[in-house]
């Protein structure tokens, strides 16, 4: 009685820590602490689960410890080893494992544990639902992982008429859950078929969706896993599972919606739009064989806000977009954040001598911030981020090396020597001299397509609000 109180309290504290953790996770400044708090909550909950008094208690602590140790080791290593760029895949994989865990539990509940008393309809229904949702989260996450990791092509594993097919599977599985719950059936054959259908549904649900939309899908599947945890919590009458699961379920759902919004699409459009029409998000333009990487605006904003030195390289595109004001505004914001911002003016940038000077003078950029070619090329190798605003020929590295190029020999701004290069232009079209620019395909280059003014304003907004 007394001890059960302490464990209740521990569970309660776990839930509180989850809430506070999630809250903190929502702000870049506190996110890390939030993550640790949530982890602390989880630790507390696990300890409570291990030591809390149970009615039937066989101990089996060695099994538990073994499982925890193996799981912790594997998870930790995977997380530490992974490349920054493949983290989303890994998250997806982890999520799939969480779903699999729920599947295992529910299967055991259904078959393994000898039924002392027959389960009530709601109980049975809950377990079956856990099984279904867990399965979908499991295989769905695996497919998402495989897509992101490039192991699965965008059009692989797609069933014929995917929308209808998936609707059908969904209806069948839900129908089975209801039917089985009502008749109280739990025979293996039924269960195996339900499991199989759910697993297949997980695959065919995700497979038609384009690779670029995977983050949204992962978030959605994550809220599924949350839901299964909550359902499992109902089975075990465990508050921390129930509440933690519900929290993840609802916050995951809203996060999914937000992610869709950030891409200017609806969730429905992502799920149904499916393969083929998903081009919008993944328009990594190809030129010849090579592919230029795109960077999302939020990521670009973060990159800028957390760098120490930024050099802006304006070109003719700045003039065309009349983006000088937006450029200055971003400069101001970054400077206010302690970033060291300057401008590298190439002698022939624009379409007349001093074109950039005129524009920047219009928005009163202090002369001290302007670097000429020599100064800039000295500073560039020590610069964290370069923003190329509608310049092209003047940052074309082929002028240094490609003797066949019409611009061979022209001194250029060596932006490729900087840490990262963000390139703002509307398309992959070449500039005045009409030559392709190999800069766009370099490891450290990222494209931000769109009108320079719009892009700059979006970055400003993101930096102001987001970071």
């Amino acid at each position: 009685m007394m001890s059960s109180f302490w464990f209740d309290t521990a569970y309660f504290a776990g839930v509180l820590l989850f809430i506070i953790g999630l809250q903190r996770l929502g702000h870049p400044a506190t996110a890390r602490r939030g993550n640790l708090l949530a982890a602390g909550g989880m630790g507390l909950a696990i300890l409570a689960a291990i030591f809390s008094p149970l009615q039937t208690d066989y101990g089996n602590f060695l099994w538990i410890i073994l499982g925890l140790a193996i799981g912790a080791a594997v998870g930790f290593m995977a997380a530490k080893r992974v490349q920054m760029t493949s983290m989303p895949q890994l998250v997806s994989l982890f999520n799939g494992l969480g779903g699999a865990c729920a599947v295992v539990i529910s299967m055991v509940q259904l078959i393994g544990v000898e039924q002392t008393s027959p389960m009530s309809q709601p109980e049975l229904g809950t377990i079956l639902l856990t099984l279904v949702v867990g399965s979908v989260a499991f295989t769905g996450s695996l497919v998402a992982w495989a897509k992101l990791d490039g192991r699965l092509k965008d059009n692989a594993l797609v069933p014929p008429f995917p929308t209808i097919f998936n609707m059908g599977l969904l209806l069948v599985s839900l129908g089975m859950v209801i039917y089985l719950a009502i008749i109280g059936e739990g025979s293996s054959l039924w269960l195996i078929s339900l499991l199989a259908i759910s697993l297949v549904y997980g695959i065919t649900f995700v497979s038609p969706i384009g690779g670029a939309d995977m983050p949204v899908v992962i978030s959605l599947l994550n809220s599924f896993t949350g839901l299964t945890a909550a359902l499992a919590g109902l089975i075990y009458g465990n508050q921390v599972m129930l509440m933690g699961g519900i929290l993840v379920g609802s916050s995951g759902t809203i996060l999914t919606v937000l992610m869709c919004k950030a891409m200017n699409r609806s969730l429905w459009n992502v799920i149904i739009g499916g393969f083929g029409s998903s081009g919008g998000g993944s328009s990594s333009a190809a030129a010849g064989e090579q592919v230029a990487k795109e960077l999302s605006r939020p990521d670009a904003a973060i990159l800028l806000a957390y760098s120490q030195s930024v050099i802006i390289v304006p070109g003719y595109g700045l003039a065309v977009a009349q983006a000088q004001r937006a450029c200055r505004a971003l400069d101001n914001e970054l400077t206010a954040r302690g970033v060291d911002v300057s401008y590298a003016i190439h002698p022939v940038a624009g379409r007349m001598p001093g074109h950039m000077n005129v524009l920047l003078a219009e928005v009163d950029v202090p002369y001290e911030k302007l670097l000429d070619l020599e100064q800039a090329n000295e500073a560039l190798p020590n610069t964290d981020v370069v923003i190329v605003v509608g310049a092209n020929d003047v940052v074309n590295p082929s002028a240094r090396t490609d003797t066949g190029s019409p611009i061979y020999g022209m001194p250029i701004l060596d932006v490729d020597k900087a840490g990262k290069v963000l390139i703002m232009k509307r398309s992959m079209r070449p500039g005045y001299a009409g030559v392709q620019n190999p800069l766009f395909f370099l490891e450290n280059s990222f494209m931000l397509f769109g009108d320079a003014k719009d892009t700059l304003q979006a970055l400003l907004q993101e930096t102001k609000v987001g970071v």
Binding site: P347, V348, N357, Y367
Partner: protein
């Protein structure tokens, strides 16, 4: 009432432009304009006639005018022609010729010159000095830029980087401020200096840098600066010297009302200047702020062009006349009552201050 406008013999401007004439004629006045008065300001007689004025010969004008407008005072001989009791309004004449006073008294004329207008807020609408100083400040920069063998703005071109020109404005009154604004527009680095402390804020409000001279004996009471103490002048000289030596363009506008203009750029400063630099001296007519300035001349000393152009405003005659005209019209409206008749309210400090001769009531 016949309002008459004289042609300026030595000035391309004209005291009234057709736009203002039209207002007067609409208000029921008769306006006479000397033939060819507006020619040099690109305002044809036809334009004046269209506005309702009659054009007449100079002597006719002088003889018939009840209110006579001109920028500079006509000669005493000409004034002899005026009808008794006429009112004279001069825009820029200091009326320092005692002969004019005598003639005016003799003929019972009432005379005003806006040269003596008080620099109050209310008087600003008729402040010709401000209007003209503003033009002079604007044009001083244009002239300097046209004469300077260099670019004003910073330019980073394929042939190297051209640093921006450095412009130093000495005296930040109306003309000085306008010069600062114009030079900044053209992309120069602008610094300015004035003895009046209040100007610091004004200079900075235009985005230019204010040059500090440690300590100043400032007098804020009147719009005009007074002469400075010896010690201060020495400190000032030294500070300015260093800034002058770096400047590509120096624009001087420092004047002390009624006195010779202070020398701000002396031989030493001139020698320190870079060859090719330009000085525009807006104080040329009162002796100049630069030792070598010659009024209405451009002197080259040691590779430095010293432009002593005191008629900068006159050389933009169209807008200058437009502004003059509007200022004079504002002044005229002070003298006229609702019925459109002359009615001089001598209580008004503006009339008081600008009047240089007044018809004796007993006469």
């Amino acid at each position: 009432m016949i309002i008459a406008i004289l042609k300026e013999p030595k000035d391309p401007r004209v005291a009234m432009v057709p736009k203002t004439v039209q207002r007067l004629t609409k208000a029921g006045h008769t306006v006479w304009v000397e033939s060819g008065a507006g020619d040099t300001a690109y305002l044809s007689d036809a334009a004046f006639q269209e506005a309702g004025a009659e054009t007449h010969a100079r002597t006719d004008i002088l003889k018939s005018a009840e209110v006579l407008f001109s920028i500079q005072a006509p000669s005493p001989e000409e004034l002899q022609l005026c009808q008794t009791g006429a009112t004279l309004i001069f825009a820029e004449s200091a009326v320092d010729d005692p002969e004019i006073q005598r003639v005016a008294e003799e003929k019972g004329l009432t005379g005003f010159t806006l040269y003596n207008l008080p620099r109050t807020t209310r008087a600003q609408a008729m402040d010709i000095l401000s209007s003209m100083a503003s033009i002079a400040g604007y044009r001083s920069v244009l002239v300097a830029a046209a004469k300077l063998p260099r670019y004003f703005p910073l330019l980073m071109t394929a042939a190297g980087t051209i640093p921006p020109a450095r412009v130093l404005v000495l005296g930040a009154g109306v003309a000085g401020l306008q010069a600062i604004a114009t030079a900044r527009r053209l992309g120069a680095r602008v610094e300015a200096f004035d003895v009046r402390k209040a100007t610091r804020e004004e200079v900075e409000s235009l985005g230019a840098k204010f040059v500090d001279v440690p300590g100043s004996d400032d007098d804020q009471t009147s719009g005009y600066a007074k002469e400075q103490s010896k010690a201060y002048l020495e400190r000032q000289r030294e500070t300015i010297l260093t800034h002058i030596s770096q400047a590509d363009v120096v624009i001087t506008t420092a004047q002390v009302r009624g006195r010779k203009a202070p020398i701000l750029v002396d031989e030493e400063a001139l020698n320190a200047m870079k060859p090719g630099s330009v000085i525009v001296d807006l104080a040329a007519s009162t002796g100049g702020n630069c030792v070598r300035t010659k009024d209405q001349e451009t002197v080259v000393y040691n590779g430095v062009q010293i432009i002593g152009d005191s008629s900068l405003a006159a050389n933009m005659p169209m807008d200058a006349s437009q502004l003059l005209s509007s200022n004079l019209n504002q002044f005229l409206s002070l003298l006229i009552n609702k019925e459109g008749e002359l009615h001089l309210n001598w209580e008004d400090e503006i009339l008081e201050a600008t009047c240089f001769t007044r018809k004796k009531i007993t006469a």
